[in-house]
Symmetry: C2
Subunit: 548 residues, 2 copies
């Protein structure tokens, strides 16, 4: 297929470029008036109470895709991590396009669709490992790589204007324990064929050396568990099934029965078994059985490594787990990293465990974790295989993408381009350049409702968090006189300030005739001024008038 | 002096034991009915938006000291860090006791008193380095140690029932660059005399090895600055004056003029000069002068290493500084650690700098920082000098204190005791044991008002942050009939939920007679139920009735 004269190849990140998580990349092909689109990944980001109080899940704003829905050929998922597929179950009802994934990823997605009542409407199209899919002008092939979950894939996109390699999340693990090793031959072959652009994971671009292998952690965990005498709990990311297997094997090797604690643990292990993984995973026992064993005969695989308040580990640390009680002589291994922003809840969890007398072992003091993202040596290898003309760093904050771009230059890549979310990049023809801006942003799952970040509900609540709320109802008669004392609703405001605000509202409204916007604004200002004087903060003040 | 029959020696932490910051330790001596008290340190803790929205400064609840004010002999400050002296300016007006400090610490305190308009009422009593003060039954001596600020002191307290060594914050720095080295002879001598209890810093109890010296960082910073070609900014804790001097000297050595940016930097350097330190600090130039120099001729010493939104560095990163503009080819060195909980604002700062094309150098990738707290080797040395019968870990979260206690046992200490805030420990006579609980907790500086954490204003605001606010005014006539439609105030609530709430309130109140608590509760419940159904969250709902 040769390109038509007006054809362009476009890259447009709507998520995951310039921030952590909620990965969503669009590729467009064709002339401006008849362009076809495909999407790689559709993930969420977990909201932080500080930034977006009351919002647990954040996803990319897909206005651009809605406008181009008729030309959207499909979504291809690289792997099953939440930040790459978690938004499908929320956004697909608006997009209704085919979704392609390898078997394990499809299975995890199916679980999520089931939970949202979408299992009937959307059946993921299963792509066998290493297979191809044709999506209009895009010749898509999934190439096996390694990461920290079964079935991570590099997406190769062949187009008449050049080949794209979109890595997803990856590292080079010579012994990933579960699944195949990286198909470097395929990547090399494509490099020989010619690669226009490498769109690549930046998460660990500032880390020198090689990332390292799950197999090394397996050995270390085996030895570490052997040194422990009491009850042992190990917490890890549930989707890292190689890790779970390592932990379970370490337990069995030292005569411990394995107990899976927490829904996410059990669900992940089941999904892996159903898709043919975890053949070597030891048999497990139920929590009830475990409590009858002596302490040195059990090992608990526990969800909640990030200090999640409702996680099983938090319940154990708080002494609130119905079955499992830890105390002096027992140990908890955190076989995971701290996701930035989770430090305080995780340390709070450590403190609770410490107060119980439990020993805490983490990657700070023991070799119990290895990252799933490419350090500099891994990146060097990837660039050597693929030899792209253009490097576009994605999957990371600006500090990561910036370091990645700097590093790619040292590897001899001709062009590097940082395109934060919403920047439309023309990859070909001509040099890569940002040619347009697409609507982008964030959607908040606020309670059960999807709202645009721009609607400002979370922002308004953050303001409430800072200085509370004052609502004033002014009740007037038909002649514009006050028919009753003003009614005040105040929340989150210290008593001294409350009194000052109430006085100010009374004073300003007292004896006033004529309501209207002017009086409302006068009352509002007086209340805020009084709060500022008495308290040093200005709450949000809303004034309503009503006529009786 | 020999102890009377009923005399007891008491230790009571009101802050700093089981959490970071706001250090305040009480020592009591005498029979229960005539006990005298002294306090070591009186610090603040910086509130986090997540936990206590709208509260920047938190300090210990001093109800216990207010109840015993007549017997409070004084406050002794170990050093000038905010978490050891920051609360004096807020709490002293309630305590009105003498405050003792060495010259630099007294000078920093005086600055704070000046800002709060207390300079006339409280004049700190200056204790020369290495001197003694007699406080009733307590023979107090300040012994020089090393930390990350000028004039850190160990407080030795001699009592008829035994000697106490209270370390404050410390590490062992063989070459602290500013001030004296640790007076180990004095500590050893007291060890020979006999030490009942060592109350000791736990912050780095989980870190193996020695903490290391400021002198090593000086050399490394010198070399690093020499490799940089463009503008250089270095951010560090302003109170680490040895570090500031190292940075300034590194700049001068490479032909750069030094510019102090930010009020805290200038204030600290001035305070140090006024008390005889920083003799070797290079002369500085003003921001205005610096901008006329070529990039490689200036070095900016900038406050705001923790990503403080109003810090000078944040303004530079946002491109909002009136004088200083950084860009490609320039570099920022973070000669500091990340205080846990500050990761996100600091990374946001990095991202902004990266977006400007600025190179970022941190302790992750270069040797630009050393801690001020004792690692295991430092602790081992201290225990060897002091040889206490009892070890009481303080200054740290439970996870730190717990590790410290475990480690002290391995050093052969006979008794270790963890006493979180509010636990009253009898140190003598008899074995150390918790004998009582004193009122304890936290005070919030909420705006300009000191409120008790228990009053729940910050907690209420945190709830507002989660699910917003609904205020309902029901207006009734004299016969208990609705005289107008209900008036609603809603904030932080998505539109769909607002409509559902308004409908529910109308439905429930419509045509109702009789107001009273029952109707209010019915309306409240209906509003929350409607929100839950439409939105999945239950806002705070307040209902008021008014009669016209």
């Amino acid at each position: 297929m040769t390109p038509s004269r007006d054809d362009e190849l476009i890259f447009l990140p709507l998520g995951g470029a310039g921030e952590i998580g909620m990965n969503l990349s669009c590729y467009g092909y064709g002339p401006p008036d008849a362009r076809k689109w495909m999407v790689v990944d559709c993930g969420i980001f977990f909201g932080r109470e500080t930034d977006t109080p009351g919002v647990d899940i954040i996803m990319p704003d897909i206005r651009f895709l809605l406008e181009n829905r008729a030309d959207l050929l499909g979504i291809v998922l690289t792997h099953a991590h939440e930040d790459h597929l978690g938004a499908v179950a929320y956004l697909w009802p608006h997009l209704k396009c085919p979704v392609y994934a390898t078997p394990f990823t499809a299975r995890i997605l199916a679980n999520k669709l089931e939970e949202r009542g979408l299992a009937e409407q959307l059946r993921p199209r299963i792509v066998p490992l290493g297979s191809s899919v044709s999506l209009g002008p895009f010749g898509v092939k999934l190439v096996t790589i390694t990461h920290s979950i079964p079935e991570p894939n590099v997406v190769i996109i062949r187009t008449p204007l050049g080949n794209v390699v979109h890595t997803g999340d990856w590292k080079l693990d010579p012994d990933p324990l579960i699944g195949e090793i990286t198909n470097d031959a395929e990547l090399c072959k494509l490099g020989d064929e010619g690669v226009l652009v490498l769109v690549c994971d930046s998460t660990n671009a500032h880390v020198s050396g090689e990332t390292g292998s799950e197999a090394d952690v397996r050995k270390s965990l085996h030895d570490l568990v052997g040194t422990l005498k009491g009850r042992v709990a190990v917490t890890a990311f549930a989707s890292n099934l190689a890790r779970l297997e390592s932990i379970a094997r370490a337990g069995r090797a030292h005569g411990r029965e394995i107990v899976l604690v927490g829904r996410s643990m059990r669900q992940m292990v089941q999904a892996a078994r159903d898709t043919g993984y975890l053949k070597g995973f030891p048999s497990t026992i139920e929590e009830e059985e475990s409590v009858r064993l002596p302490p040195h005969r059990s090992l608990y695989l526990v969800a909640g490594s990030q200090g999640e308040a409702r996680g099983a580990l938090s319940r154990i640390a708080a002494g609130e787990h119905p079955m499992i009680a830890f105390g002096p002589g027992d140990a908890v291994i955190f076989s995971s990293r701290i996701i930035p922003g989770n430090e305080l809840p995780i340390f709070a969890l450590h403190n609770k465990l410490a107060a119980l007398g439990v020993e805490i072992l983490t990657e700070q003091d023991h070799f119990v974790h290895v990252s799933g993202h490419p350090a500099k040596e891994d990146l060097t290898q990837m660039y050597a295989w693929v030899r792209p003309r253009i490097a576009i760093p994605v999957h990371g904050e600006m500090r990561h993408m910036s370091e990645h771009a700097r590093f790619a230059k040292t590897l001899g890549v001709a062009e590097t381009l940082i395109a934060p979310n919403g920047n439309m990049v023309r990859l070909a023809p001509g040099p890569a350049s940002i040619v347009d801006e697409a609507p982008s942003g964030r959607l908040h799952l606020d309670g059960q409702i999807l709202v645009s970040e721009g609607d400002g509900f979370a922002r308004a609540r953050r303001s409430l968090g800072f200085a509370g709320f004052v609502g004033v109802t002014l009740i007037m008669d038909g002649k514009g006189r006050m028919a009753a004392d003003p009614v005040l609703h105040m929340e989150g405001i210290p008593d001294q300030a409350r009194e000052a605000i109430a006085d100010a509202v009374s004073r300003v409204s007292n004896g006033k005739r004529r309501g209207g916007e002017e009086l409302k604004e006068e009352v509002r200002r007086a209340a805020r001024r009084a709060a500022q004087d008495a308290w040093g903060k200005k709450p949000i003040v809303r004034v309503e008038t009503v006529e009786v």
